[in-house]
Every structure is written in structure tokens, then in C-alpha cells.
């Protein structure tokens, strides 16, 4: 009898199961990822590092966002927007169904607070301020009604919509800290997770320094799936903090981690395990972060010693474009990719990464690896070869200079520099490789200017305008000859013009033409010589659904849509 009852109950459960929407089983489960280091803060306004912003992007959102695959700007907290015909006034209509995770409604006041009280607050240091200040002026942000906000721009600004991905912070939680001038230190890593509020799909629930970050589902999240289900599907996203890449790899193989980003070098180790360990390796396209060498073309004198920053003899080589072109021909990018990325990389020729979508111009001058050509260019420029193969300049000075570099993070720059050094020796240049501490290198590049050649990298992105500090002749990161009062050369002048025009050009195809011209100029004039771009590789367990890995968004560009296949 009892057994019958059990059986009956069992049958009922079985019968009931199909009654529940089949997709409902998508709910539940955890995703265990890894980050290399602790976040520095949960305060997105003062955050300056990717480890922090990777975390804040789970619980904070902006008015717009970029589609991780097409890179187009799409609505997020703003439902829609329109621009006035002169492109100066933008009206955003906010979603009315958005709630902060403590249940308070999201309104125009939060947007105004974020811009007027946080970003443009002179007491708060913020890199957002740098992005959102146009020709020295802030944007004017006004409230039309509770769900409508108007931005007035001082001049036309093409990257405006993309910049509106700026995350919005909750006014009701934070306005007091602003009044007490404590905002810069609020939402730090010592803040209890329950006090950190957002509109995003996940909320911080635990933080154990040096160990892990646990995020839980935001029950108030507004976004729904295409079938109308409340997102997110996952219960938790857990980030294990593991600084060592080898340890990450072992823990992934062991099963503790569900996903890792891997380097090309680890590919041969992981690939054979795909089937037995039930995961797949995704190739998400080229990386954004460029690596390059550049020569010091700074003609200035040291203000204290009034000695030149660069020895005039060397300066005459470095400012000679033929010299730089010869160097470009001598760098064996294929070998770099083989050695550094185990074949998973692309030679970089243009200043933009192929992953930056339409702004990438593939039609730039390519300097193929050809030592004969390199020697020919040098000879044409008046350089001569001594009997022992050493290169000397037209005045008979041997071509010898220092190559500075520094290993930062996981990038193997010292190794790249060593290979380039041997490449340049093949065309008779004597290069002394000088690895230094990162701070020393920064100091050389931005204040003491005493360097010959540097191997370094800069972070890149989709929007070329945000690299203006590198490309404008007046920019502080115009590394080869920074802070020019007036552009020294015609092509630098032209790039300044391009950056001025493109920032105000609202027509995408005309903007692309301008940036294409900039990429062609830089490839011809070679102020920097790019090396190789790595490929973004992600290994992810097969149990997850809705995966769309991309170079722009990482392994999980839309974590709210990820579910566990049952």
C-alpha cells in the first residue's frame, strides 16, 4: 500500500513536470570563473583598472551599451533616444520598469546624480570625466520628467552615444556620501556587499580578499529573455581570485573552474582534453591591446641640464622615416607569433585591431619581413655597412642604441624585445636590451624622456577617438615626441585635423574615411611599429547555453543569458 502511494506520488511528479514550461528548467546553477587579482574598488566612478570594472559591470549598467558581436550601440537603461538636427541636444527616454536591487525605482534623478554630482564633481577624481569632457567643457544634463533626460553638448561629439555606456549609480544610496565628501572612498572593498546596489543582473553577495567574489541573482532585474522569462538564469557567478596563470589552468582541468581565458601557448595542452574534460575552446578574434616599438624623436633639451634628451646623432636616425621603415621590414612578425602565441596571433599593421569592427582599415601599407629590402632602404638613405656587417650612418657613427622594455602583467614584452633585438642585429644594428621596472619606463616616457627605443603596449578599444591622447601632437602619450605646442611635421598636423573633424562627424561612413586616412598615415610614417596581436581564446565547459564569446565582451558578454543545459 505504502509502496503504491510512493509510486503514485512519483507518477504525479512525472506527469506534472511537462506541465511546467520546459524552459523553466533553465534556472539555477553556478558559473565559476577566475580573475587574476582582487578588485581595487566597487566604486565604478573612481575605478581605473579592468579588474574592478569587470566586476562592477555585473551590477551596474549605462544608458546605452555596445552589442558584443556587432559592436553597434544599443539601448540599455534608456529605451530610446533622439538627437536634435544640429546634433547638440540628445533626449533619452528611460525604461520605466527598472528597479535598483533594493526595490527603489530607477529614475532620471539617478542619471543626473551620476553626471552632475559624481562625474563632474571637482572633488572626485574620475577617468569618466576625461572621456566626457569635450573641448574642456562638460555636458549639460537636465531632467525633463522622471523618465526623460536631455544632454546638451558644447560641440558635436561623434563618440557621444558610445560614451553613454557610462554606468549609472544609485542616488538614494550615495548622495549623502557626496555631501560629506566621502564618495571617493565609498563602495570600497571594505563595504558590506549588501550595501552595494545596482540595476544589473547580478549582485555582490560575498567578497573574501585574495580568494573569491560571489555574485547572486538580482531578483529585481528588468531584462527578460525573448520568451519573456525573467533573467538572469544562473543563481551565482563566482570569481576565484587566482593570480598565477598555471594555477588557473590546472584548476580548470581539475574541474573547479568552468571557464578560463588561455594563451596560445596553453592551447596544445588543453586541446586534447576537450572531449574527456567536456569543454570547448572558443577563438574569439584578435585582442585589442597593441604592442609596438617606437623611437624617441623628441628634439627637446632637458630643462635642468640643457642637454638634449636624445643624442643628436641618434635623433637624426630616429627622425628619418626610411630608418624606421627598414626596422619595420626587419621584424619577423611570423616568428613572433610562433614563439609568443604558439601561432595564435595576427601581425598588426594598422593602429586599430581587426576586432574594432568598421573602424579597422585593412588597406594600410604592410611591411613584409625582408632583410634585403631593409638593407636596401638603409643604403639608399646613406647608411653604410662595415666589413664586419655593422651598420654605420652617413657620418660614420656606428648604429647602436638602447631598447627599453618592462614586463607588465602577463604580456611577455621582454621576450618580444629580445626577439626584435636579434632581428635588428641581422641588419647590422647593435641593440642593447635594457629591461627596467614598469615605473621607471613610465617615468622615461612621460617625464625624463631619456630613452632611444621602447617596446611597450597600450590598451585599445572600438572607438578610435579615445586614443586621441596618443595621436594628437599635443597629447601626453604622443610617445615619440609628446606635448608639442604646434605639430612638428605635416603628417602630425593632418592627424590633428582628422581627430578634430572625426570627433564632430556624425555620419559613420565619413568618420570611417577619416580614421582610415589616419591609419594609412601612421602606417606610412611609422611613428610606432606594431608587432603582433594575440588571439582571445576561451575554454568553457559544455554545460552552458547561450554562449557568444567575443573579443569585445570576453567569454560571457551577456552573463544574464547564460544558463546550464540539463
Amino acid at each position: 500500500m505504502l509502496r503504491n502511494k510512493v509510486l503514485l506520488t512519483f507518477l504525479c511528479v512525472c506527469l506534472a513536470a511537462p506541465g511546467i514550461d520546459a524552459a523553466a528548467s533553465r534556472y539555477g546553477g553556478n558559473l565559476v570563473e577566475t580573475v587574476a587579482s582582487d578588485p581595487k574598488t566597487f566604486n565604478d566612478i573612481v575605478a581605473t583598472d579592468v579588474n574592478s570594472t569587470a566586476v562592477t559591470s555585473l551590477f551596474l549598467e549605462g544608458l546605452t551599451t555596445a552589442d558584443p558581436v556587432t559592436l553597434k550601440v544599443i539601448p540599455d537603461l534608456a529605451r530610446s533616444w533622439e538627437a536634435s538636427s544640429d546634433g547638440l541636444r540628445w533626449t533619452f527616454h528611460l525604461r520605466k520598469d527598472v528597479k535598483w536591487s533594493d526595490g527603489v525605482g530607477f529614475t532620471a534623478d539617478d542619471v543626473l546624480f551620476t553626471f552632475n554630482d559624481l562625474i563632474y564633481n571637482p572633488d572626485i577624481p574620475s577617468s569618466s570625466k576625461d572621456v566626457l569632457t569635450i573641448e574642456g567643457k562638460p555636458l549639460k544634463v537636465e531632467k525633463i520628467d522622471n523618465f526623460t533626460v536631455r544632454f546638451t553638448l558644447p560641440v558635436k561629439f561623434a563618440p557621444f552615444l558610445r560614451a553613454m555606456a557610462q554606468t549609472i549609480l544609485p542616488r538614494h544610496c550615495l548622495w549623502q556620501t557626496v555631501q560629506q565628501k566621502r564618495f571617493t572612498f565609498s563602495w570600497g572593498i571594505d563595504t558590506p556587499p549588501a550595501q552595494i546596489i545596482g540595476t544589473g543582473p547580478f549582485l555582490l553577495s560575498e567578497y573574501h580578499p585574495g580568494e573569491r567574489l560571489v555574485f547572486k541573482r538580482n531578483p529585481h532585474y528588468w531584462k527578460r529573455s525573448s520568451q519573456g522569462e525573467a533573467l538572469p538564469y544562473l543563481d551565482h557567478i563566482i570569481f576565484m581570485i587566482i593570480p598565477d596563470a598555471q594555477a588557473q589552468l590546472l584548476k580548470f582541468i581539475d574541474g573547479e573552474l568552468d571557464a578560463i581565458a588561455l594563451s596560445g601557448r596553453d592551447y596544445p595542452l588543453l586541446k586534447p582534453l576537450e572531449r574527456s574534460k567536456d569543454f570547448h575552446i572558443y577563438e574569439a578574434g584578435a585582442d585589442y591591446d597593441s604592442n609596438f616599438v617606437t623611437f624617441n624623436q623628441n628634439p627637446g633639451l632637458h630643462p635642468k641640464t640643457s642637454r638634449p634628451f636624445v643624442d643628436p646623432v641618434k635623433l637624426s636616425w630616429f627622425t628619418n622615416v626610411q630608418f624606421r621603415r627598414a626596422v619595420a621590414h626587419a621584424i619577423d612578425k611570423k616568428r613572433l607569433i610562433e614563439i609568443l602565441n604558439n601561432g595564435f596571433g595576427l601581425p598588426q599593421n594598422s593602429a586599430m585591431s581587426p576586432s574594432s569592427g568598421s573602424f579597422y582599415d585593412p588597406q594600410v601599407t604592410v611591411y613584409d619581413y625582408d632583410l634585403g629590402k631593409a638593407r636596401g632602404i638603409l643604403k639608399q638613405a646613406g647608411f653604410k655597412y662595415r666589413p664586419d656587417g655593422m651598420l654605420e650612418d652617413p657620418q660614420g657613427h656606428p648604429v647602436e642604441f638602447n631598447l627599453y622594455t618592462s614586463d607588465a602583467g602577463t604580456a611577455s614584452r621582454e621576450q618580444t624585445a629580445a626577439i626584435i633585438r636579434s632581428d635588428l642585429e641581422a641588419i647590422g644594428m647593435k641593440v642593447n636590451l635594457v629591461p627596467v621596472e614598469f615605473n621607471t619606463l613610465v617615468n622615461k616616457l612621460t617625464s625624463s624622456f631619456d630613452w632611444d627605443m621602447v617596446m611597450i603596449g597600450l590598451t585599445g578599444g572600438v572607438e578610435p577617438h579615445f586614443g586621441q591622447n596618443v595621436w594628437r601632437s599635443s597629447g601626453g602619450l604622443h610617445l615619440w615626441d609628446p606635448n608639442q605646442l604646434k605639430p612638428v611635421s605635416p603628417w602630425e598636423k593632418r592627424i590633428d585635423e582628422i581627430y578634430d573633424q572625426a570627433a564632430q562627424e556624425l555620419d559613420d561612413s565619413k568618420r570611417k574615411e577619416l580614421y582610415d586616412e589616419w591609419q594609412r598615415i601612421t602606417a606610412d610614417e611609422l611613428p610606432v611599429i606594431y608587432t603582433v596581436l594575440g588571439m582571445d581564446l576561451f575554454a568553457v565547459r559544455n554545460k552552458f547555453g547561450n554562449l557568444k564569446p567575443s573579443a569585445n565582451g570576453g567569454a560571457f558578454p551577456r552573463p544574464e543569458e547564460i544558463y546550464i543545459k540539463k
Binding site: D130, G210, N439, V442, N443, T459
Partner: protein, 324 residues
């Protein structure tokens, strides 16, 4: 005795001031500061970097910065971490605890196994077990700890069974107390085991040598000649004397509680002070470095004082009071 301790504490304060000043000076003697990494970010302007520098008083005169920090310590404030944007004490707190868990476990393992092994080997000199132990000790002593840790981690990843680094499993927060303890202990096996192995080996050799030295002494001969039972000869007379030099060593081990595990911590992703300090030094997070150096200094001196006190207890010949 008390007077001696007070004297030690006074000299300690001077010493700590010197240590902290030296650390401070060294960090500032190398070029650049913490915010240099921001300077190479194309999206951050020079004025924002300067704003940060001002916020943390990095442009004030150096001596003033230092005295400011020292004075604040007496108010219980150890300065702000530039990297983490919160008070240094908050960053150090949890890391200190984790490092203590690891170091203390390995200290117990080292002394709990090393000492008995040493005595045992001394009493069975040239027995095959003693020779085996010698071979084992030399091997363990000469293998660098971090290298051994990597090997063990690879072995564990191949054959499974043990967690590969870290201190807790990802689902630790959902466990009950018993599982939590078990989880932590399992995570401790590799780092604590590797950490104690080489010091265990050296401790075993030292203990063995001391013991053999003492056993050759005349008073042992006298004790035996008196007809004392062998157990009393060894454990009351020989052991106490052989143990003497090791007490000083224990004082140093106490100091190494904080710093000794750094390499193993990094290899085994143990969330302790080691990895924290490494990034802090490289990033020039001034006050974080100074505060943890200071704590290391305090522990070293405390360990020495502790060893001195222990010595008076073990060795009746040592007295700090004025002789009457």
C-alpha cells in the same frame, strides 16, 4: 626579568622606527609612484592623475609624509592603501589571518615531526633508518620549496584527490561547519606539507647533531655511571641540554610566520600576505608595504623576547636579574 622586557620593548620602538623609515626611504628612492600605471592609459588625463596624487598627499615633502604616517599610527590609523583605496588595516587583516593559519600549521608539523625524528635518529646512529632519514633530509633540504610545490600540484592535478591551491572551494559559503573545516584542511595539505618539509628536514638534522653532541658529554657518562635508568638519562638530562639552541631558533621561526611562506603562497594561490606584499612592492603601495614590514618587525622582536623567556625556563644558567 620585567626590567629586561621593558628595556627590550623600548629598544624595539626605536628599531621599528628605523625599519619603517628605511622602508619608506627605499620605496621613494626608486623612480615613479603608484599612479604611474595610470599615466599610460590613453583615457586618463594628466590632471586626473594629479588629482589622485593630491588625494593621497603624494606630492607633500617626503619627511612630512613620513611623520604624518607615524603620528597617525598612534591614533590607530595605519594609512591608506593606494591600490585598494581603503585603510591598510582592512587589507592586511584577513590576509594576516590566512597566513597565520598556513604558517602555524606548518610550524606544528615541522616541530611535531622534526624534533622526534631527530632524537630518534640520534639514538639509532648509523642504523639503516638513520641513514634513510639522512638521505631524505638532504633531499628535502636541497629542493626549493616553491619548485616542490609546483611538482606536487602537477601530481595532484594528474591523480586528483587534493585541491589545487587556494584556501576554500568555490561553494564554501554553502557548506555546513564540519564541511567547511574539512574543506580548509584539505586545502592546507599541499602548501603546509611542502612548507614544513624542508624546515622539518633541517630541524631533524640539527636536533640529531645536538643530541649526539650532548650524549658524548661527561655528565651523561656520569649519569649513566650513577646507574640512572637510560630513559631518565636521555629525556631528562640529554634532551634538555640538546634542546637549548633550538629555543632561539623557535624565536626566529615565530618571525618567519609572516614572511616565510611568501613563495609557497604565490605558487599555491594561498590568499595570504606573500602575494599581497609582492604586488604592493611592485606597485609602490607605500603604506601597505610599510605596515606589513612593521608587523614583520614586531613579530621578529616578539619572537626573540619569547625565546629569551623560554631560555630562562629551559636553561637554569641564564638569569636576567642582577646576581645577589
Amino acid at each position: 626579568m620585567i626590567k629586561h622586557i621593558i628595556q627590550r620593548i623600548l629598544s624595539t620602538i626605536l628599531l621599528l622606527l628605523a625599519v619603517s623609515f628605511f622602508t619608506f626611504w627605499l620605496i621613494h628612492a626608486t623612480p615613479g609612484n603608484f599612479f604611474d600605471s595610470l599615466r599610460l592609459n590613453p583615457q586618463i588625463s594628466q590632471s586626473t592623475v594629479e588629482h589622485y596624487e593630491k588625494l593621497y598627499h603624494l606630492n607633500d615633502p617626503l619627511l612630512w609624509q613620513y611623520f604624518h604616517w607615524v603620528i597617525n599610527i598612534f591614533h590607530g590609523e595605519w594609512g591608506y592603501s593606494l591600490y585598494y583605496n581603503v585603510p591598510v588595516t582592512h587589507v592586511l587583516g584577513s590576509r594576516l589571518f590566512n597566513t597565520f593559519v598556513l604558517s602555524f600549521t606548518s610550524l606544528i608539523l615541522t616541530w611535531g615531526i622534526g624534533i622526534p625524528l631527530g632524537i630518534w635518529a640520534a639514538l639509532r646512529r648509523n642504523h639503516w633508518i638513520d641513514r634513510m632519514l639522512s638521505v631524505f633530509s638532504f633531499a628535502a633540504f636541497s629542493t626549493p620549496g616553491f619548485f616542490l610545490a609546483v611538482l606536487v600540484l602537477y601530481a595532484a592535478s594528474r591523480w586528483g584527490g587534493l585541491p589545487l591551491g587556494g584556501m576554500h572551494s568555490p561553494n564554501y559559503d554553502d557548506m555546513n561547519l564540519l564541511d567547511k573545516i574539512k574543506d580548509t584542511l584539505l586545502h592546507l595539505v599541499i602548501p603546509a606539507g611542502v612548507l614544513s618539509l624542508s624546515s622539518m628536514a633541517s630541524l631533524q638534522r640539527i636536533m640529531r647533531g645536538n643530541m649526539l653532541g650532548v650524549l658524548r658529554q661527561q655528565y651523561i657518562l656520569a649519569a649513566r655511571a650513577k646507574g640512572l635508568p637510560e630513559g631518565i638519562v636521555i629525556y631528562r638530562h640529554a634532551l634538555r641540554n640538546a634542546f637549548n639552541p633550538l629555543v632561539t631558533l623557535l624565536g626566529y621561526e615565530f618571525a618567519a610566520l609572516l614572511s616565510g611562506a611568501a613563495l609557497i603562497e604565490i605558487v599555491c594561490s594561498w590568499p595570504g600576505l606573500g602575494s599581497l606584499l609582492l604586488t604592493a612592492v611592485r606597485a609602490k603601495d607605500v603604506y601597505l608595504v610599510m605596515s606589513s614590514t612593521l608587523m614583520g618587525g614586531v613579530l621578529l622582536i616578539m619572537g626573540n623576547v619569547l625565546a629569551d623567556i623560554l631560555l630562562t625556563w629551559v636553561d637554569p644558567r641564564i638569569r636576567y636579574e642582577k646576581r645577589r
